[in-house]
Structures are given as C-alpha cells and as structure tokens.
Symmetry: C2
Subunit: 405 residues, 2 copies
C-alpha cells in the first residue's frame, strides 16, 4: 500500500467512527438527499462563558449586513480521533490558526445563512432551521468535512440566540442574521481529508434588504462565465462557489446590472441569479399562468426560500396558476416577453426573501420585466408578505417558524 | 444607484489606483495571458524581525510534506485604501482573523507551489519562479484579489530563503517547498470585492516524493465528478479547485487507485490527474511516436513542470517523436493500449516532477500502461533526470534555475 493510499485508509477508518462515514456519504454524492448522522455532537455538554464587556448596540438605521456581531459566538471543535468536542459559547473573538491550515489553501469551508426574528410577544423565532441543518450536512459530506446531528446544533443555536436575544432588532424586516460556518483546521499542506475542523456560529443584526418597499433590480444574463456544472458542487453552500462569481459580477456592475443571471450551456438555460434562486411568471395563450424556477439538477442551490415559495404558491395562488420546476432558456424568456407573456420575475433568498427583477440584459439589449404592483409584480408582493408573516410569527404554518427555547 | 451597485462602484474605484484594476483584469479574463501591474509592492521596504527561538531541524528521513516549517514567514498586507504595505519577515506565527473574514466563507484564497534547492556549491536556487509569479497574479485577478509586481515578490522570497537557508535540506530529491498564499481578509459577510488582503509565504523542508526510485501509480478515470469546466476557474490555482476533489479521490482510493484521472464531457476527454498534469506517449503504425498532453483550454492548470516538459521534450527527444498539446479521450487511450500503441504515461507537478502511471481504471477494468524502464517508461525517466539536473544547478538551461541573492 503506498503512502497516499495508506493515508486515505487511515482517514476513512478514523472518520467512520466519528464524523464523516465515507461509505455513506460517497454513494451517489451528487444527488444525495438523506444524511445519516454518526456524529456525537451533544448540546447538553454546552459550556458558556459570558462576556464581561458587552458591546454597545447600534440603532436600527445604522445596521449594515454582516459588519457588526453580537457579544458571543458558538464553537465546536472536531477531530478525527475524538469526534465532536465540547460546545462552547464565549465572547466573540478572533480565530487563531496556523498559516498552513487547510481552510486557507484548499477551501475546506462551507456555511449556512439563516435569520432569527423577534415576534410581537418578544419571542425569538427561526424559520425552517431544519432545512439549513440538512443542507449544511450535505455541504459538509461533499467536501469530506464531518457531519453532525442537526437537531443538536439547533439546540445550541437556540441557546446562543437566547443569550444574545437583546441583539435581535425589532421591527418588520429587521432580524438577526445567523452564520453557521464549518472549516477544516488541519495544519498541513498535504491535500487530503481534514482530520480537524471547527464549526462556529456568529450572528449579525441586520435591517431590511430594502429600506422602504422593494427596489427592483436589473440582472445581466451571463453565459461566458459559468457558476456551476453537472458533476460539480454548485448545489452545495461551499465557499468555493462564491469567490469565482465576483469578477463576472463586477463586469455586470460596470454595465449597470446589480447581479448576474447565470445561464448554462449552449441552450442558454436560466439557472440562478447572483447568490439567489430565480422565479419567472408566464401567461399562456389560453389564459392559464405559470410560475416556474429551474429544477434541482445539481447545479442549483437548494434554497430554503425557494422551497417555501414553491409550497406556498402551489397552495395559495388562484386556480389559473400552475407552479413548476422545469428547465427554461433565456430565449424563452425573451420570446415570451416580446409576446407580452412574461408577467413578472423575482429572485429569492434569505437576505431579501424576494427581490423583484425589472430588466434582464441580454446580448446588449434589455428584456423588460413588468412591475405591475408598483415596485414588483403581484406574485412577488404576495409571496414576500406570506413568508414574512410566517417568519415573524404572525401566522402559524406547518411548524415552519420555531420559537427558540 | 442602488446599494449593491454603489458598493461595486466604490470598490472598483478604490481598486483601480492600488491593486486590482478592474478594467484591465476583467477583459477576457478566462483566457487572459498578460498581467499589467498597478500595485506598489516594494521589496526595498522589507523589515525583518529574526526569531529568538530557532527551531530544531528534523533529520532528512523525518521530513513530511507540508507538516513542519522554517523559523520565519513573509507577510505583506494590502488594503484598497493604501495598497501594498510594508513587507515583513518575522518568526512563524498563527494568523489571527475575525470569524467573519471572507477567506473563511467565500474562498477568497489562492496559492502557488514552488521549491528551493541547495546546489553543490551551497547556493539556494529556485526553478522558473517567474512562471509562478505570473500564474499567481492570474489567479488573484480572477477572484478580485489584488495583483502585484512578481519581480518584487521574488526579491522578497529570495531574502526569506537566504534568512532560512539552513532549512533547505541537502541531497537529490530534497528541497524546501515554498507556499506563497494570498487570502481576502475583509471582515464582513457581504459578498463583494475584498478591500483587505494578506499575501504570505511559508516554507516547509521536504524529502523526495518517492524515497527510492519511482513508484508508479494507478489512476481511476472519473467522469461522474467534474473538476473543471469551460467558463469556470479550473486553470487557476484557487483553493476553490481543491476541496471538491477530495471525495472523488476517497472513492477512487477505496477501489485501490491513488488519484483520479479527470475526464470531461460525454466524449471522455482526458484533462488532468489528481492535482497534476497528465502526459501520454503513443506509438504510431508508421513507427513515429507522440508525447501528448491536454491543451490549455481553460480547464487545465498551467503547470510549470508541464511547460518545462513540453519545451525540453521538443528539443531533446529523438527525431521520431512529436510533442503535442491536443484533446484526446479515454477511448483513444483504451484503444491504443489494446493495439499495443500506448508506450507510457506519467503525471507531472512540482511535488514529484514526474510520476509514472502503471494503470488506469476505467469502467471496472484496468488499462495497463507499460513500465519498460523498470519503474517507469523511458521518457518519464529521462524527463525526470533532465529537470532535476536543471533544478539542482548541475546544468544551466535558459536561465530556468535562479540563485537566490
């Protein structure tokens, strides 16, 4: 057995009793939908060290996304030998890492984006956190970082939220953005399975994406740069998917577009927009209407907001509507816009919930998208209201909103 | 102008006077071959703080790749406001970073791999370092990190080498592995152009890849997972290209293969192997021979060793040989092996120089590769010897080997 093989064998062996179980996670990893947990992440072991120098809180109108953080952070270390260690909440602090640590060299890193909301009774709520935990485990398994029990992590996040609840800003559109992050921390330049990792969660108070109403955005349809590919990792929330998208976004911005609308293949399939999913509403000749988004074929991020929109629209849109996940091209969008059949379009994601699209730049021209309801289309407006009502606990729906206890 | 656009505009403006100049770096970024430097990295400003607690050096037989490092490290900070700061060599130390730093979340990270060799006169030499500097700048530009003057960085690396030259191990096959690294250090969860970065270089004494002679490896041809694609970033040395390759490698290892041989497309084009380029030697029916490797079409890492092999083989192989860069498929490899026309195959990279291939797993069977010269083919053996002679200064060739002064 050569050195390389031996190293893999040792890591596979170690991993099977603790975090990653290679035989589970590697079978059909591209379209895997279930995760079995072999981790021993245990929320009951939580240790808390409270800050002795609480931060001054910013007024709501000075909040900038992801720039300021709460008093504390949650951390759990993992090693291949010992599995998940003692969860710790302690004062927010820098990470101190050897410069050879694999997270700096080989992008062993993944994250989640989720929010906590203060409801009218002062409770702190999260929105479908189980979806984030499942997705985070899928991301971890895909880059050979340890998986974990998502219920246990959510118990820990809830404790963190209760401790720092005074940082959750009040008011519609205000929330505490949560950033669960998992990084490989092995200090070695060898390219292999990390034998050390750190899972941490930080939290940033944030304001509404749009300070008053919607601000519809223009997107540039981009085919020369490609965000994701079949057999790649575009459906996982890995750091690796983000840095390469900045340069195409800068190019689009120079031409006045806020984000890219990522196309795929010679056919020009519409995939997603910037770091958000994309929905298009069409009217058919017979009067029926369709709300559609690209299917989860391995190149599309499995957005929690995307999933929520699909489910709510199937239930709540009037009967002339069908809600589909299907492949469609920029040519169809252009053609149907020309025929007056493009009714509206929007992006979806945790940050903005929904973000109306007003135009799509394509081959030097703009495809105009109707904005019939003032600053968005009607579906966009309804969907945004439906989801916000659930997120802030004004409406109970299928247990999607969970009070932190 | 909305907030997103404004942010881009500000960053573009800042960047144009200091590091990244967006209008330069973004034009045809996918196949860009020249970099103009607008940075003010200045080696003459170097400050050195020497260690007061020198490390104990390991004997040659205990060196493990990338596990132990020299006494010092080189660092240069960059900010959008001030450009490149004062270069510093100081004792090797941990990096202390805010947990929201973009390198942990969005893979703003890239690196180079190069080596320093001790020649028979005790001089410290690097091999074609200008190639690494050019490639590092291309990688930086592709993910909106600042570019820099490569000559200045090499002057700094040479100072670093002279300071830590006692760590360069002696003996053929022994060297000091250098890891120039560039990371985005903006502490913010906003996805955008980093306005802070850190360029650092660490150095690890390493032994020969194979302790005695070659150890030919078996590769598994992999089509279900895809390393790189047109419009992606597979030709850049970004962290983002590495973590996603570990799981497919673990799968291959379970079946007894050391690395993946990455295929692309329905045609099954051979691209590269693990983190190395791949060369195949074929014999034609008319007695002529061909050494070939995949072309630099945007999906192939522009290996310095690859380039050196092409140049040396064009000059030095007997006249029946042609040396080509062309697309070829796993089907051609299989067919020509069956006909007895596959003469040899090897991988190339900084770590091993050349690494002979003995078999390629494909659809459950092995394509056997001849190993006529004991533990490799004849070209593999010659190429390894040619390059090592230049690297260790035993032979002068085109200024490829540079003495650190």
């Amino acid at each position: 057995m050569n050195a390389t093989l031996k190293r893999f064998a040792i890591h596979s062996l170690r991993a099977s009793g603790t975090g990653v179980r290679a035989s589970q996670v590697t079978n059909s990893f591209i379209n895997r939908t279930t995760i079995r947990n072999f981790a021993s992440l245990d929320a009951s072991k939580l240790e808390i060290i409270k800050t002795t120098s609480p931060k001054t809180k910013l007024p709501n109108d000075q909040l900038v996304f992801g720039k300021t953080f709460t008093d504390h952070m949650l951390e759990i270390e993992w090693t291949a030998e010992a599995g998940w260690g003692t969860p710790k909440i302690s004062p927010y602090h820098n990470l101190s890492l050897d410069p050879s640590t694999v997270v700096f060299h080989y992008a062993f890193e993944l994250f989640e984006g989720m929010k906590a909301y203060k409801d009218k009774n002062g409770n702190i709520r999260t929105f479908r956190p189980d979806k984030n935990m499942t997705r985070m485990n899928k991301s971890a398994a895909r880059i050979a970082l340890p998986t974990f029990d998502g219920d246990e992590l959510m118990k820990l996040i809830n404790q963190f939220l209760l401790l720092d609840q005074s940082f959750v800003p009040e008011g519609t559109g205000y929330s505490l953005y949560l950033r669960p992050t998992l990084i490989g921390t092995t200090a070695s330049l060898g390219v292999g399975t990390p034998d050390r990792a750190l899972l941490y969660v930080i939290a940033s108070p944030v304001g509404p994406y749009y300070s008053s109403g919607f601000k519809p955005v223009s997107l540039e349809a981009t085919g020369h740069a490609v965000r994701a590919w079949p057999g790649g990792v575009g459906d996982k929330k890995l750091g690796a998917n983000y840095a390469p998208c900045i340069l195409p976004q800068l190019e689009a911005a120079k031409r006045g577009y806020a984000q890219n609308l990522w196309l795929f293949g010679e056919e020009g399939y519409v995939t997603e927009a910037g770091a958000m999913n994309a929905f298009f509403a069409f009217q058919n000749a017979d009067g029926t209407k369709e709300l559609t988004t690209a299917p989860l074929d391995g190149t599309i991020l499995e957005g929690v907001t995307r999933d929520s929109i699909l489910q709510l629209c199937k239930e709540r849109l009037p009967k002339e509507w069908t809600v589909t996940e299907r492949k469609f091209t920029i040519h169809e969008v252009e053609e149907r816009a020309q025929k007056g059949q493009l009714i509206e379009a929007f992006c979806s994601g945790t940050a903005a919930v929904v973000s109306p699209i007003k135009a799509i730049g394509w081959k030097g021209k703009d495809i105009e998208v109707p904005i019939v309801a003032g600053s968005s289309g009607e579906v966009t407006k309804s969907v945004g209201e439906w989801i916000r009502a659930i997120q802030y606990g004004d409406e109970e729906y299928n247990g999607w909103s969970r009070v932190a206890k």
